[in-house]
Symmetry: C2
Subunit: 150 residues, 2 copies
């Protein structure tokens, strides 16, 4: 959420009182406002069917990194695991703006991803990266505005 910090840093107002300048912190709202909706972050539930290279650890890692870059997000950690015997992969990219996760079932050509981002990142920009990397027959995206307050 450092992106949010960058976007919504507490502003400091200096007022020249008789005893010199006074710095006053104004509490900020870290929620996002867009099109009249107020929410905490955008969560994309992404499913791939008929996808390729879901057992290729180096490819999955490179794709997660490319997705982070495409979203203009900030990578803090990336963790990947390869699970024998089906060669399924679990990966999580922890971001300053939340996370991307992937879990793959290569034997079914299926992968389940989350792309959860707050602040100024662009989660939807990850979709074409995923499509190009895994060449799925079908890709579904559901958008959830997390913490939607109305």
């Amino acid at each position: 959420m450092s992106k949010i910090q960058a976007l919504f840093q507490s502003e400091t107002f200096a007022s020249d009182g008789e005893h010199g300048s006074i710095a006053r912190e104004v509490p900020k709202d870290y929620f996002i406002e867009r099109d009249g909706a107020r929410y905490a972050g955008t969560h994309l539930i992404v499913d791939l069917w008929g996808a390729e290279r879901l057992d290729d650890l180096a490819h999955v890692e490179a794709t997660l990194r490319d997705a982070v870059t495409a979203a203009k997000a900030t990578l803090l950690h990336i963790l990947l695991h390869h699970f024998p015997p089906n060669q399924g992969i679990s990966g999580v990219a922890v971001l300053a703006e939340s996370h991307i996760s992937i879990h793959t079932w290569p034997e079914n050509g299926y992968a389940a991803l989350d792309v959860f981002m707050c602040g100024g990142a662009e989660p939807h920009a990850t979709i074409e990266v995923l499509r190009a990397a895994f060449n799925p027959d079908r890709l579904a995206v559901e958008e959830i505005l997390r913490g939607r307050a109305g």
Copy 2:
């Protein structure tokens, strides 16, 4: 997904042919079948409002660990970050059965969690752990059967 491995390990059939026993691996389906539905894993989208202790890193970590235990899941890694200045926390528990993530907005009393588990784990068992730990005014759970094939 080691839980899945434990549950669905390739079975080996020995047949006594004229040249001795022959081991034959039968490919297994790592998807789950329950109540006529076939899917890859259960993904709970959990939202807390009016919640407490969302800025307490040690408490959040202990709660994630308790949630993993309650779900009978296997913890592989846990990562937590504390973000000044609002003291929001991001945490991800990477499991053999997928992951639990939490992102908190303490200034709004809001937390967004995912509880994604495949195999024999019990994701719904995490809910009461979260309720007890964060004492929210409101807790919402949406269940998504990821990779649902029918």
